[in-house]
């Protein structure tokens, strides 16, 4: 039973394909059908996850802010996404008269495509990778960069000043954060010796002392690289505190100002799917992918672990969003280039030391020092650079 639950999705697929095969369907059609089923399942899972998250995000934000959140549509407000969807679809689709309507129309599509494409290489469970690419990570970042074009298309095509400002910000931000994002991901590839996500996940298998999982996030270099990856993931998916392109309080809605109705919903959906993809990548690279955190928890199927971890990371993103104010554009860029980039190099070095110092206590000390010292130095220099200081105030009686 356990093994069947573990491989249940694959078993069902194989059973279905076998059934079709017994009717004499040629193999190449079977391959296409198989791919279509996998694609359909993934899109279905992620879109329903998106629907669930859009309501959970609002509920979590509300609870952080001591409110109830949506609780009118259906039990606990769970049908809220359906209501939202109906609202979005029935709204008028406005296109400004002076907009470049082709670009304006294409932007949400271009936004959606890479968000869905990158889902192909993520290992969702044991032996559950839709497309087993040897250079999966490379593919992920290469395709993921496509969203930048979409954001810029949206900003430029709208012919709105707020949109252009938002698009300019988005380009500056995404390109700056792409660099530390990739470098921090490369660190894991370096340790595990492969660019394939499945190989990276299996490199994190096993337990030290029998109960401590050997996830990369639990090593000094992996923690640093993971944190950098996480911060960059926030920035790449335009989430608070890096939501400058939308910049609600400054730029109204940034590149989305002139979008309404279903186009807006597509953007919204793409952003959430993109966020899940990058969360999935984060889980794959640093949190042991689909592996259970403790040996005896193996009884729960691996794909459940994967989804659970993704949801946890998404929850922390919502939590961060509820807490932090937005950065300013110059701080944002300085943070990327002057702090995150050097720190990701430090993580790089630290990982190298870890590898060559034998992954023992010495390696711990060395790699901790290599990331810790730059962190304190750089961090303090960085905060002083922006004259961040505690102040004393004078009182007069």
């Amino acid at each position: 039973m356990i093994s069947s639950l573990e491989s249940a999705p694959i078993d069902v697929l194989h059973w279905f394909l076998g059934l079709l095969g017994s009717f004499g369907v040629p193999a190449w059609i079977l391959a296409i059908i198989s791919a279509l089923i996998i694609i359909g399942t993934i899109i279905g899972v992620f879109l329903s996850l998106f629907a669930l998250t859009s309501v959970m995000e609002r509920k979590i934000l509300a609870r952080v802010q001591n409110r109830y959140g949506p609780n009118r549509a259906g039990p606990f407000g769970l049908f809220q996404p359906i209501a939202d969807g109906i609202k979005m679809i029935t709204k008028e689709d406005l296109v400004p008269r002076t907009a470049d309507w082709i670009v304006h129309f294409l932007a949400p599509v271009v936004m959606m495509v890479p968000a869905l494409l990158v889902l192909a290489i993520i290992p969702y469970g044991r032996d559950m990778v839709p497309a087993e690419l040897d250079a999966g990570i490379l593919y992920f970042f290469a395709v993921g960069a496509g969203t930048e074009v979409a954001v810029f298309m949206a900003g430029w095509g709208s012919n709105n000043k707020y949109s252009v400002l938002g698009a300019m910000r988005a380009i500056a931000q995404m390109i700056s954060y792409e660099l530390p994002l990739v470098i921090s991901a490369i660190v894991t590839a370096m340790i595990s010796g492969s660019l394939s996500p499945s190989a990276i996940v299996s490199a994190q298998g096993g337990f030290a002392f029998g109960f401590v999982p050997q996830w990369f996030a639990l090593t000094p270099w992996g923690f640093t690289a993971g944190l950098i990856f996480y911060i960059c993931a926030l920035a790449e998916s335009n989430r608070s505190p890096f939501d400058l392109p939308e910049g609600e309080s400054e730029l109204v809605a940034g590149h989305l100002t002139e979008y309404s109705g279903f186009k807006y919903a597509t953007f919204f959906m793409a952003e959430y799917v993109g966020m899940f993809a990058i969360c999935g990548m984060f889980v794959t690279l640093f949190l042991g992918g689909w592996q259970a955190p403790l040996p005896f928890l193996d009884i729960i199927p691996s794909w459940c672990w994967f989804l659970g971890k993704v949801c946890f990371v998404a929850f922390t993103m919502i939590w961060v969003r509820a807490t932090l104010p937005r950065l300013r554009i110059d701080h944002l860029l300085a943070f990327a280039w002057k702090f995150l980039l050097p720190m990701s190099f430090a993580a790089f070095l630290s990982a190298a030391c870890w590898h060559y110092a034998g992954r023992g206590p010495l390696a711990w000390i060395l790699s901790l020092a290599i990331v810790g010292i730059p962190y304190l130095l750089l961090g303090n220099a960085f905060t002083n650079r922006f004259s961040v200081s505690r102040r004393t105030y004078l009182f007069s009686e």
Binding site: L61, L244, E250, V252, T323, P325, S389, L394, F395, S396
Partner: protein, 374 residues
């Protein structure tokens, strides 16, 4: 892309921030010229909420102007009431009942508390913190508004002060509820400070942004927390000793740099001082009538003359300049709106900063459009 060329140069774009904009605190509008993200010119445009309050008041009786003052700075109606009542009392030489003076101090300091905590929330909203701080602030403000409702009958449009006193006495148990709230308030301020004042992003966003020297602040007519943040020790509660403020011990905080962070922190510190004043006032409030029985409300005709009365409102110096000609209507009714005059230096403060800072600077000045446009 076919923007109209900017007035300044082809390198810049003109953006009209407002009057419909998420964070201009109402229908304020700024015509901003941007060079990239940097502001090179900023021109405030007023009047979208103008209803000529002064003309309305000049056409009504002296008493009938009182409910209109609620609608000036609708976040803090009770201090507006007090400023008007104070000016009229100066004009006609009316004594204020002893108990009413205490009630005025208590309500005014409660108003200051709720204004300042709401301010913290609004500034964080302007910085894009998704309303978390705002909701915490409103959670506490709600309790103060409930107090106002049980005292005056309305949460925001209180219409409570009268010439020579207040409209009605405190309901039974009101002081106990207030004491409980005041005692719990520092805990809430601690929570707010833990959330906000150490946050590196917030510090980077506020510190060093738009500093103001003391001389410039005085010449520009800044008042209230904005003036004190610039390092000027000037609190009308201390200087004019209006009401009975000389009976309470409190300190006046002042900043050193005069930037957004100082303006932000001055509010937190002032809220803590207000808690102290409230505790003292609740402890010693005497019994007695709440309105001077000699003061006439209906058909009130002050002797001919003029008076300028001002108080330290939560947003700054709120003054009323009244001219009476002996009739039952004000001859001239002029409001000195702190929100409007504190915007005098807005352009100076904003030029050279980023567009995101404009919202923070505007937020740190703390305006309410009801008062700016009147």
């Amino acid at each position: 892309m076919s923007f109209l060329p900017s007035l300044e140069s082809p390198q810049t774009i003109d953006v009209s921030l407002g009057p419909q904009h998420p964070s201009t605190h109402g229908v304020f509008r700024m015509n901003v010229t941007l060079d990239g993200e940097t502001v090179t010119r900023l021109q405030p445009v007023f009047g979208y909420l103008h209803r000529n309050h002064e003309k309305i008041a000049e056409g009504n009786s002296w008493l009938a102007a009182m409910p209109y003052t609620d609608r000036l700075d609708y976040i803090c109606p009770l201090t507006n009431n007090w400023a008007y009542a104070l000016a009229v009392e100066k004009l006609a030489g009316i004594e204020v009942a002893e108990r009413a003076e205490f009630i005025r101090v208590i309500t005014a300091e409660l108003t200051r508390l709720q204004n300042h905590v709401a301010f913290l929330g609004f500034v964080l909203g302007d910085m894009g913190a998704w309303g978390t701080a705002l909701m915490y602030a409103f959670r506490e403000r709600e309790k103060i508004l409930d107090l106002f409702e049980s005292l005056t009958g309305a949460r925001m449009m209180c219409n409570y002060m009268r010439f020579g006193g207040c409209r009605c006495d405190l309901p039974p148990g009101w002081l106990d509820t207030t004491r409980k709230l005041v005692d719990g308030f520092p805990k809430f301020l601690d929570e707010m400070e833990a959330l906000l004042t150490g946050n590196e992003i917030l510090l980077a966003r506020l510190q060093g942004v738009a500093p103001m020297t003391a001389d410039r602040a005085i010449n520009g007519g800044m008042s209230g927390p904005v003036l004190r943040a610039a390092g000027v020790d000037y609190d009308i509660r201390k200087v004019d000793n209006y009401g009975i403020y000389n009976r309470f011990k409190f300190r006046v905080p002042r900043g050193t740099v005069g930037d957004c962070y100082d303006r932000f922190m001055i509010r937190v510190l002032e809220a803590r001082e207000s808690v102290g004043i409230l505790k003292q006032a609740i402890a010693v409030i005497p019994e007695g009538p709440v309105v001077n029985p000699k003061a006439k409300q209906r058909g009130f005709r002050p002797p001919a003359g003029e008076a300028y009365g001002r108080i330290e409102g939560p947003k700054g110096e709120l003054g009323f300049y009244l001219i009476a000609d002996g009739s039952d209507k004000p001859y001239r009714f002029r409001i000195r709106p702190p929100s409007l005059i504190n915007l005098t230096l807005l352009e100076e403060l904003c030029v050279g900063t980023k567009i995101a800072d404009v919202m923070v600077i505007l937020g740190s000045i703390d305006i309410v459009l009801g008062e700016v446009d009147r």
